[in-house]
């Protein structure tokens, strides 16, 4: 008998706990040439803002040991074009559509969350608390507890859709940030965003990417992400979506056992476009071979 792989994240029921991470899966279309997107638990769309954003000057990526650094700069086509050109295609699939979103200031976060709340075909919102505006004090909303508290509270007021907060690992205590999200009414948290990082070309004595700092992702950060998920799952009751270098079913299972209700596949999509499907199959095979009827019986079962 096929084991149950359904999990609940806020108001959403996912057919399986495997999601594609924001920024690594485009608008879905790019990967639909490789597999049926309906196989996925959910798709998280590339970070969206109200207005289109051009992103950072190239070079934007650099490979590092077991990982990569990127500074794409949240390039996206903006809300209106997304709804007109990308969402209709995504609606054809039997999966959940989660919109990762951000703004230049809190006002834009609220405005976009409000619009997304009324947008048919959008099932949930994932709030990126890494505000890109260098001139706004909201730039630090993911790093300073007081700012995070206010931001989550205000966004929560305008949406009754499932609200997920995607947290940065660049904090003293991730559990404190997670607790704030829970207290302010968030339905779930995503852990972790990329880790700020740098590589220098010793000949030019410049950073190898334009920005010059980027976000480190890939298997290199996986054990850090896993540790943060484990710590956080002991403190909050809301579901955690584990993210960070997950590439295989075994990686994903570690996160589930550590307490994540779901996992998101990120950089692995770049290594192998069908990674997420392989992870889904691998999880199912594990459940069968271990005789586990329901995936929820596995989640959070790590022992100290």
């Amino acid at each position: 008998m096929k084991p149950n792989t359904e999990v609940k994240i806020g108001k959403l029921t996912l057919k399986n706990p495997v999601i594609t991470a924001s920024g690594t899966f485009g608008y879905g279309l790019e990967y639909s040439q490789f597999f049926d997107l309906s196989l996925l638990g959910a798709i998280v769309i590339k970070g969206l803002s109200i207005n289109p954003k051009e992103g950072n000057p190239p070079p934007r990526i650099y490979e590092t040991p077991c990982g990569m650094i990127n500074s794409i700069g949240l390039q996206n086509i903006g809300y209106a074009l997304f709804v007109k050109e990308k969402l209709p295609f995504l609606k054809r699939f039997d999966t959940k559509i989660i919109i990762n979103f951000f703004g230049e200031n809190l006002h834009e976060y609220i405005e976009l969350a409000d619009k997304l709340n009324d947008t048919e075909g959008v099932h949930a919102l994932e709030m990126n608390v890494s505000c890109p505006n260098k001139n706004s004090h909201w730039r630090k909303m993911g790093l300073i507890p007081e700012l995070l508290k206010e931001a989550v509270r205000e966004v929560r007021k305008v949406t009754d859709k499932t609200l997920i907060i995607k947290l940065s690992p660049q904090v003293t205590d991730i559990t404190e940030m997670a607790k704030i999200c829970e207290d302010e009414g968030a339905d779930a948290i995503s852990l972790i965003n990329t880790v700020p990082a740098m590589v220098i070309d010793i000949k030019t004595r410049r950073s190898v990417i334009g920005n010059p700092i980027g976000g480190l992702s890939g298997p290199a950060i996986r054990p850090i992400a896993l540790r943060m998920v484990w710590e956080t799952s002991k403190v909050v009751k809301i579901p955690i979506i584990g993210i960070g270098g997950i590439t295989t079913a075994e990686d994903a299972l570690q996160f589930l056992i550590a307490g994540a209700k779901a996992v998101a596949i990120g950089t692995a999509n770049f290594i192998n476009p069908i990674s997420s499907v392989e992870v889904i199959k691998g999880i199912e095979n594990f459940l069968i071979s271990e005789g586990i009827q329901d995936i929820n019986d596995l989640i959070g079962t790590v022992t100290d």
Partner: protein, 250 residues
């Protein structure tokens, strides 16, 4: 044929210092056009993490070939793979060279020949090829090109070819007056020089250039490989790698 394939290596050979030809056995017919590329994954390990994007050098019958220069960790590993091993390739991706109607001019600098060889082969006896390299040992496939081209100009910096100097200078002298559409691939300095020549001579000949940039996904999702164009950032993997010369910001 689906887009992800595991293919067997039938040849992996050093042709010149640091330049390798990798040939794979294609089990089912493969549709790919000159200028397009594949992502080759070196192995199942995570370091290096990403596959390497390589232009189609040649595709004929049951064989696809890639010509590449060993530049870093990834291409180093590619160069050491042995016959019989399997390698995962994904693609083809990207925009191809618009097909020429009649004769055309090609400018290739060094390893840039990797991107234009298949184009020349698809349209035999139609190309005037200006092929430049540092020295004669880096001029590859001379015999084949001699047969395939309408006319072949070999230019080396050391002078041991027909012409001494840089490829764009010979093109300025002999190529411009042909008044043919131009296809080019080579180092950025060559592309910039070609642009200058075209501008100085007020030519409005169509000119198509294949460019490269570091890539992660290769399929348009990560937005990592953008370059600056007159219409903002464009993805080399999807809107490119072949661009019109006049849309590039150099």
């Amino acid at each position: 044929m689906n887009k992800i394939n595991k293919l067997k290596i039938i040849k992996n050979q050093a042709l010149a210092d640091g330049i390798h030809l990798l040939s794979l056995k294609v089990s089912e017919p493969l549709e790919a056009k000159p200028g397009q590329f594949f992502i080759l994954r070196m192995n199942e390990r995570y370091d290096p993490l990403l596959g390497r994007p390589l232009s189609i050098f040649d595709l004929e019958g049951e064989k696809i070939s890639f010509l590449f220069r060993v530049k870093g960790k990834g291409t180093k590993i590619l160069s050491t793979l042995t016959v019989g091993e399997e390698i995962q390739i994904t693609g083809p991706f990207g925009k191809w060279y618009p097909f020429p109607h009649g004769e055309f001019a090609v400018i290739a600098g060094g390893i840039g020949i990797a991107s234009v060889f298949y184009l020349i082969k698809k349209f035999p006896k139609k190309a005037y090829l200006f092929y430049g390299a540092r020295n004669l040992s880096e001029i590859l496939f001379y015999e084949e090109l001699k047969d395939l081209c309408k006319e072949l100009f070999i230019i080396t910096e050391c002078g041991r070819g027909e012409y001494k100097g840089i490829v764009t200078e010979t093109f300025r002298e002999k190529g411009l007056k042909l008044n043919l559409p131009i296809y080019a691939c080579g180092p950025m300095v060559m592309i910039k020089e070609l642009r200058k020549i075209l501008e100085e001579n007020h030519t409005h000949l169509p000119c198509f250039v294949a460019v490269e940039e570091r890539m992660a996904c290769g399929l348009g999702a990560c937005l990592g490989c953008v370059i600056e164009t007159t219409e903002g950032f464009k993805r080399v993997c999807t809107e490119g790698p072949v661009f019109k010369m006049n849309e590039l910001k150099l």
